[in-house]
Amino acid sequence: MLKVENLVVRFKSRVGVVRAVDGVNFDVVSGERFVFVGESGSGKTVLAMALVRLLPNNATVTGRVIFDGVDLLKLSEKEMRKVRNCKIAYIPQNQASLNPLMKVGYQCAEPLVEQGLERGRIMRKVSELLEFFGIGHRFKDYPHKLSGGMRQRALLVMGLSREPEMIIADEPTKGLDAVKREQVVEAFQKLGRRTLMVITHDLPFAEKVADRIAVMYCGKIVEISPAREFFDCPLHPYSKGLLESLPERGMNPIKGFQPSLVNLPEGCRFRERCDLSTARCAEEPPLLEVDGSLVRCWLYADEMC
């Protein structure tokens, strides 16, 4: 359904060119729930925004984003608006995404107004959806009266109301406590089999919703695995580090810091933080296929020979 080929996003900055997303390839099949995980600053959000072309003008995006056979990067702005309105619903991160001066219900109805539907039908549909997510009584409230979890669900309603072919949700659990996170998880589970791409650094949340997991590090995908395999036995040393940093798995954070995206180390970008690094890691590892997963690490190169 969605196929991304060699996507590169560069930002010009005073210190040099930042390659926030550096040659990313992946595809999401219809009905799948594809989850991106990674540290803050690994390029997840930039990647998602690049897909729907919402990045500011100082970003240059190259590569191909094929959605239903059409390269989104080649569409005119007007056609792209249609795609954003009807086909791909991008749900921005955090709950400041609601206009403080607009009542929640009307705001959720905006995509449908844009589609030019009849008013009565729009209102009925939006109230049904709000009801479905348990915030039907909030139709005529302003966003500041809603809790973070409610706002997140309202954003989800806004995304769903237009019946998109695909939803891209950016950090839907950002800044929520455990209870409200649970509400969001429930909301996502209510979505049924819709094509979903979720970006998060909340691993427990990812475990609950994902079919497949992609791990990003410094603008590159280092591993793509089916969710069960990923949580049982992650392949890439970075993925292992991520999981081990969870409280229930020992809370051992990965040593060191993510390198600056302006001057990245040669070869494997995780090399300097990796316990298993060898001389070979000075060379850029290819994305290798191991038992149905993809991993970018030299450790698995030998097994293939």
Binding site: A89, Y90, P92, S97, L101, P111, L155
Partner: protein
């Protein structure tokens, strides 16, 4: 502060509304010319024996209506220009920015006088020309405020969200950005009405504003200046009302600013 300022303005507004009760501002009575304040004429009479109370209150109607009209028109023009400039940026912003700079570099009153002079010479004297001339210089402040507001508002999350649902740029500008700039705009508009009252009175005083027989504060003040030693009440009362209304709008504006 909001109540003090609002109260002063409300009093002046009510008095202006009640102006017809005070009689005809234009009825000449030479027998009673230059008579000091009394029970019959609480504010005295002018050199033609016209009742000053009635003239000042009728003048208030004119001054307030014209000032509010000018302020609103400037707001519409300035908001639109500033919002477009801030939202679209680039060349549009540069061009508008330079135009605004030109307006800012010339003292407003000089430009007003020039505008009134030119247009009156071409089209004859009318209140509309005064309104137009003042709006012509007055929109700049709104444009600058609006541009700044839009620059910060357009980076807000909800604008991104609106883009993500496929909304068009004008829709985002009018539906999401401009309403969120309303608070500071209302403050500016309130303070601005005070300034505009002063500008109109200044033009009136110079004989370039609203023309007789329509009574207007600045123009009445001017007509009294020859009698300032013998009949000071002719200039005193319009002057007092100008000062009070400007004060009222300023206090209200400051109060609103502190509240928001």
């Amino acid at each position: 502060m909001v109540f003090t300022g609002g109260g002063i303005i409300l009093c002046i507004l009510i008095l202006s509304c009640l102006a017809p009760i005070a009689g005809d501002p234009c009825s000449v009575n030479m027998d009673e010319r230059l008579s000091p304040p009394s029970f019959k004429h609480p504010f005295g009479t002018d050199q033609l024996g016209r009742d000053m109370l009635s003239r000042v209150l009728h003048g208030g109607r004119v001054s307030l209506i014209v000032a509010i009209t000018i302020s609103l028109l400037s707001m519409v023009v300035g908001c639109f220009v500033g919002a477009v400039s801030g939202y679209f940026g680039g060349v549009v912003d540069d061009v508008i920015g330079r135009i605004v700079d030109v307006f800012m570099s010339i003292p407003e009153i000089v430009l007003n006088i020039a505008m009134v002079g030119v247009f009156c010479a071409v089209y004859g004297v009318s209140t509309f020309i005064v309104i137009f001339a003042v709006v012509f210089t007055n929109w700049v402040g709104y444009a600058r405020l609006m541009r700044g507001m839009v620059l910060s508002l357009k980076e807000r999350e909800f604008v991104l969200c609106a883009k993500a649902i496929g909304a068009g740029e004008w829709y985002i500008l009018f539906r999401h950005i401009i309403p969120n700039a309303a608070g500071p705009l209302i403050v500016l508009a309130t303070l601005n009405i005070g300034n505009v009252i002063m500008t109109i009175a200044s033009l009136g005083f110079l004989g370039l504003g609203i023309q007789p027989p329509i009574p207007e504060w600045g123009q009445i003040l001017n007509s009294g200046k020859n009698y300032i030693t013998t009949a000071p009440w002719i200039s005193f009362f319009p002057g007092l009302f100008i000062a009070l209304s400007v004060l009222g709008f300023n206090i209200l504006g400051e109060g609103l600013n502190a509240e928001s």
